[in-house]
């Protein structure tokens, strides 16, 4: 009886989690224009339509350029913040950690309004740099957290050993601590990239028609009319996400043997 409850609830929940995407994404290859089964036949024509339509490819390149910029800026901000915070006293550490992590808690619609108003007055609204900086602020907390985790997990004996061999503080930092924390920086960079690449709300407020990102274009498409091209974009976005997740796993598996 208890096993029935367990398996029943687990399988139902698992189906709810997986089935929507498994069912919907293959419709990108549907020959017909109705988004339902049975499919009319296998076709790549909707992919072709995406790649020949300027608006989707332009949005894709915008997203990519913005995500790269936001990743670099986010790693710089979050990485510096994490290494700096590690060197401060306990009380300051709590306050600064709260500050640097806080963009994760503030609802994105609120950050969106704040950015839209303030960036508008600074003349950054609609520009490439406006979006890069806004997304960097959203990605920096994730870089901060993963670098923090990485620095905290370091074996203090390694630093001590280097010191006993006569290495100066700065030498130890650059040649011992930082290389050991590299996995944290890499994971943080991937988090920052994905955060920017998938972000909708802030981009909705800041992007001009020329700097529209792929998620904003998809959001507009969903509100407008449901077409098979939308499923194609959704499929491509998920494939990019999965590729990044796989990259993360691969990087972590590279980092592991060094620790032991």
């Amino acid at each position: 009886m208890s096993r029935v409850i367990f398996w029943g609830s687990v399988l139902l929940a698992l189906a709810f989690l997986i089935v929507p995407l498994v069912l919907v994404l293959p419709l990108a290859f549907n020959e017909g224009s109705f988004l339902t089964y049975p499919m009319d036949g296998f076709s790549l024509k909707w992919f072709a339509e995406i790649f020949t339509h300027g608006q989707w490819t332009r949005a894709f390149w915008n997203s990519l350029r913005i995500a790269f910029g936001a990743m670099i800026a986010g790693v710089l901000i979050g990485g510096l913040a994490a290494t700096g915070v590690m060197l401060t006293g306990r009380a300051l550490q709590i306050v600064l950690t709260g500050l640097f992590v806080s963009p994760l808690v503030v609802p994105s619609i609120v950050v969106g309004v704040a950015f839209a108003y303030a960036f508008g007055r600074m003349g950054l609204s609609g520009s490439y740099w406006g979006l890069v900086l806004a997304h960097a602020i959203l990605g920096a907390p994730l870089v901060f957290l993963s670098v923090m985790t990485s620095l905290r997990g370091l074996d203090p004996d390694l630093d001590l050993a280097a010191a006993s061999l006569g290495a100066s503080r700065s030498h130890r930092f650059w040649h011992v601590t930082l290389p050991l924390a590299a996995p944290g920086f890499l994971a943080g960079a991937l988090f920052a990239f994905t955060t920017s690449f998938d972000e909708v709300v802030v981009a909705l407020f800041l992007a001009s028609p020329e700097s529209t990102t792929l998620p904003v274009a998809l959001f507009a498409g969903l509100r407008d009319r449901l077409q098979p091209t939308i499923v194609v974009v959704a499929l491509l976005l998920s494939l990019i996400s999965f590729a990044l997740l796989w990259l993360m796993w691969w990087l972590q598996s590279l980092g592991r043997p060094q620790k032991h």
Binding site: M1, S2, S9, V10, A13, L14, L17, I18, L21, L23, V24, L27, F34, L35, T36, Y37, I77, G78, L80, A81, G84, V85, M86, L87, T88, F100, V105, V106, P107, S108, I109, V110, V111, G112, V113, A114, F115, Y117, A118, R121, L133, A134, A136, I137, R152, D159, R169, V200, L204, P215, L218, F219, L226, V231, A234, L237, S238, S241, F242, L245
Partner: protein, 390 residues
């Protein structure tokens, strides 16, 4: 953690050097925008800046008031005159033309009460002067009044009796967030349990499913639900095919669609914290409980579940906070009566360009989130102090 006790002197300088850039960027590009948004929510707009001489004039002296008003009018450029007239007209219909006509001729009018009345007899009516006196402060609670169903009385105090539409919307936001939180916890618990306790291969499969879902963009997952639930969508097609229904059901653009899709999107945020707590519970406890004669259900309810409450609480808080400010998913899958505060904030910014209301609602939403975070922080601190595991 480990290193702070043996870092004297130079560490402080190094910390300062490292922190300068992130602190500058956070202050300039994050704290300042949020601060200016908060200021905007109580900002009186052009009204609070353009009628400065009038604001300082002696209220009991009609001629001084009239002279100050004309001085202010002469000091304004055409744009400011228009904005001020618009602001006054929002309070009293017809003020716009009166103000603009007078402002245009403000150089020729004799700076006394009699001069103004001679130009336009409406200036003799006290109501126009009252509106200006009430609305020339640099700060206003007008937007918060509108958001909370209160109105400003003649003395500028908030009193009951306004339109309570935004109170209803905030209440609805709260109700939806609670509904989504409960459904999400109900579905996440067995999945987290499976990751922590099932056979390794199955546990790993569930974990991969959770992580893939977590890593897939929210918008993509919402897209899937829009396509599944639409009138000619997969769910309706399936139900029609089985003969369970004769007519397609309305599954989207209503509360059902909003809650189902929001739950699906938020599932991983609930599973991950619960899973982390469940993994720390030794399996031998269940064996011990069983060997002492407790049945599986009693073992779960009295031994296992109480230990997972901390994880459930973290999951509940995370999902609740995310649901409270959720925009993308409910705006695509909810109907007009299922839109949350975030939808109206976006509409104020994108459509009606009413920044005052957008920031007032944002400040209220941000306040609610910060209160919840503070409660969680306090609870964690209290638990750490009482010796509980933090």
């Amino acid at each position: 953690m480990h290193a702070s006790p043996r870092r004297p002197g130079g560490a402080r300088l190094a910390a300062l050097v490292l922190l300068v850039l992130p602190l500058a960027i956070y202050s300039f590009l994050y704290l300042m925008p949020i601060g200016s948004m908060v200021a905007l929510s109580v900002d009186n707009g052009e009204l609070g800046r353009s009628l400065v001489a009038f604001r300082d004039a002696d209220r009991s002296d009609a001629n001084a008031r009239a002279a100050a008003l004309l001085t202010d009018m002469r000091a304004m450029d055409a744009g400011t005159q228009g904005a001020t007239a618009r602001g006054l007209n929002q309070n009293l219909a017809g003020f716009r033309s009166l103000f603009l006509n007078t402002a245009r001729k403000s150089g020729d009018i004799e700076p006394t009460m009699a001069g103004l009345v001679a130009f336009d007899p409406r200036w003799a009516e006290e109501q126009y002067w009252q509106v200006m006196e009430r609305n020339t402060a640099p700060f206003t609670l007008r937007h918060f009044g509108q958001a909370t169903g209160l109105v400003l009385d003649d003395n500028g105090r908030l009193t009951a009796g306004g339109d309570d539409i935004y109170v209803q919307i905030m209440w609805r936001t709260l109700v939806i967030a609670v509904q989504v939180m409960f459904v999400t916890l109900l579905i996440s618990y067995p999945l987290a349990y499976a990751v922590a306790n099932a056979r390794p291969r199955f546990a790993a499969f569930v974990l991969v499913a959770v992580l893939l879902s977590f890593w897939t963009s929210i918008l993509v997952r919402t897209t899937a639900w829009v396509i599944l639930l639409q009138t000619s969508g997969l769910v309706n097609a399936f139900l029609l095919w089985t003969g369970a229904i004769a007519e397609p059901l309305q599954l989207i653009f209503n509360r059902f669609g909003a809650i189902v899709s929001m739950t699906h999107v938020l599932l991983p945020f609930a599973i991950i914290p619960m899973m982390n707590v469940m993994r720390t519970i030794p399996k031998s406890q269940a064996d011990a409980s069983r060997s002492l004669g407790a049945g599986p259900i009693e073992t779960f309810l009295r031994v296992y579940f109480p230990q997972t409450i901390r994880g459930v609480a973290v999951a509940a808080g995370t999902v609740f906070i995310l649901a409270l400010g959720f925009y993308i998913t409910p705006s695509l899958t909810g109907g007009p009566r299922d839109q949350m505060v975030s939808f109206y904030i976006a509409a104020f910014v994108k459509e009606s360009l009413n920044w005052g209301m957008a920031s007032a609602l944002s400040v209220l939403l941000l306040g609610a989130v910060l209160v919840i975070v503070a409660i969680y922080g306090a609870a964690r601190w209290a638990m750490a102090r009482s010796g509980g595991r933090a």
